[in-house]
Amino acid sequence: MTSAIGTLTKARALPQAAPGTITRRTHPLWFLLPAYALLLVFFVLPTAYQFVYAFTDWSGFKASINPVGVENLTQLASDGTLFRALRITVVYAVLVAIFQNAFGFGLAVLLERDTLVNRICRTFFVVPVLMSALAVGYVFQALLKGTGLLADTTWTIVVVALIHAWKWMGLAMLIYLAGLKTIPEDVLEAARIDGASRWRAFWAIRVPLLAPAVTFNVATALLGSMNGFDIVQATTGGGPARTTELLNIFIYRTFGQGLFAQATTMSLVLFLLVTLMAFPVIYLLRRREEVQ
C-alpha cells in the first residue's frame, strides 16, 4: 500500500525532478482564478451580450425585449449613420496617430540632451497627460471659442484630433526619449568614423532603431483614439452638424435617449472595427515580447 502511494507520488513528481522546474504545484493555476473570473463576468460576458442584444428591440420605453433580426443594423446603414460614424472614427484615429507621433517625436528629438532646461520642459509637456480629457476639452473650447475653428463642418475634426494629440504628446515624447536612450553610443560613433553626417546618422541609424517605440506609440494612439469620447464631447459634443460624432459619442447620445439596442449595435460595430484593426497590432506586440 505505502509503496503504491510511493510510486504514485514518484510518478507525479517525475516532471519536476530537476529543482526549479515549473509545475502545477509550484505555480498553481488557481492563482489565475480571481482575475479570470472577473474578466469573464465583467468583460467577456458583456461583450458576448452585444452579439445578442444588437439584434433585439431593447429600449428604455418598454419592459420586454424581443429579437428583431438585423433591423437595427439595416436601419443604421440605410440612413447613412453607420458609415458616417465609422468614417469619422477612422479619420479621427488616423489623424490622432499621425499628430501625436509627429509631436511626440519632434519633442523627444528637441529635448533629448539631459540639460536642466530640457528636464524642466519635459515635465511641462507631461502635465496635459495627467489632466482629465474632459478638462482638456473645456480648456480648448474656451480657447478656441471666438475663432470658428470648432464650428467648421470640414476642419473641426482635424482640430479635435490636434487637441487629442496635444493631450497625449507628452507620453509619446517620453516613450520616444526612452527609445532614443536604448541606442548604444558606439553604433553612432562607428557611423561618425565612417564619415556619416549627423543628418544621415540620424535617419539611417537612430530612426530605424526606434521601431519598438514607434510600434507602441502608433498602436496606443490609434486604438486609444478609436475609443475616444471625452475630448470631442467636451469641445464640440459631436457637432457641428454631427461631423465629429465618433462612434462613442453616438453610443452615449442614443443611450441617453433610451435607444439601447441602437447603442448596442454601434458598440458592436466599434468592437468589430477595433478587432479587425487590432490583429496586426497584437501580432507586432507579441513578436516584440518574444524578441525580448
Binding site: 526549479g20 474578466l39 468583460f43 528637441l110 473645456y138
Partner: protein, 270 residues
Amino acid sequence: MIRRLQPVAAIALVVLLIGVPLWLVVATAGKSRGEAIDPNLSPPAEWHLLDNLRQVWTEADVPAALLGSLLIVVPTVAGVLVLGSMAAWVLARRGSRLTAALYALGISGIILPPAVVTVVLLLRQLGLAGTALGMIGVYLGVYLSTVIFFVTGFVRTIPEALEEAARIDGAGPVAVFRLVVLPLLRPVLATATILICLYVWNDVFYAFFVIGGRLDTLPLNLFRVASAGLYLNNWHLIFAYVILMSLPLVLVFAVAQRKIISGITGGAVK
C-alpha cells in the same frame, strides 16, 4: 549655433503649447463671473481664485464627488494590482499552450473596447446597477488586462532561482508569491498604479453608463456642472473645478516624477 538656439526653442515651445492653455485655466479661474463670460488671456482685474475654488467646493458638491472617486479608485487599484499580478506570475512561469491562450485572452482587453451598453444590463441582472461595487467590477474587467500585460513581461525578467531558494526552504506557492515575487514586482506595480489611477481618476465615459446619476465622481460631477444650464458659460467655476480635480495627480507627479517616468517608459520600449 544649434546648441545655443535649442534652449530658447524649447522654452518658447513650452510657453506657447503648455503655458498658454494653463494660463487660460488659472487666469479664468481667478476672474469674476462677468469677466469670465468671454474667456481670454488677459489677467483678471482682481484675483478671485480662492473665492471661486471655495464656491465650487461648496456649491458643486465636490466633497461628495471626491469621496465617490476615492471609494472607486482605491479598491479598483488594489484589486487590479493583487489579482493581476497573481495571474501574471503563473502565466509568465508556466509555458503551456493553455497559459499562452489565457495570456492572449487576458491582454486582449488592452485593445478591445469594453461593451459599455450591455454591461449596464448585466449589472442590472446581477443587482449591481448604479453601485460602487458594479463600477469597481467594470473597471477591474477593463484594467486587469493592462496589469497582466505589464507584470507578465516583468516577471519573465526575474530569475527563477530566487523563487527556488524559497521553495527549497519549504515555502508553498502562496508564501513564494507573497514573500519573494510580490516585493520584486515593486517597480512595475508602481508604474501600473500610476497608469490605472490616471485612467480611473479621469474616466467619465464608463462611469456615465454604470453609475451616472446614482453616484458622483469628480469627472462625472465636472461634466454635470459644465453641461448644466445653470453653469453654462460660468467659465470661472468650470476652470476652478479643473484646478481642484487636476491638483492631486499633478502633486503626486511632482513628488515622484523620476520614478513615474522611468516606470512608464521602461515597459514600452523594451
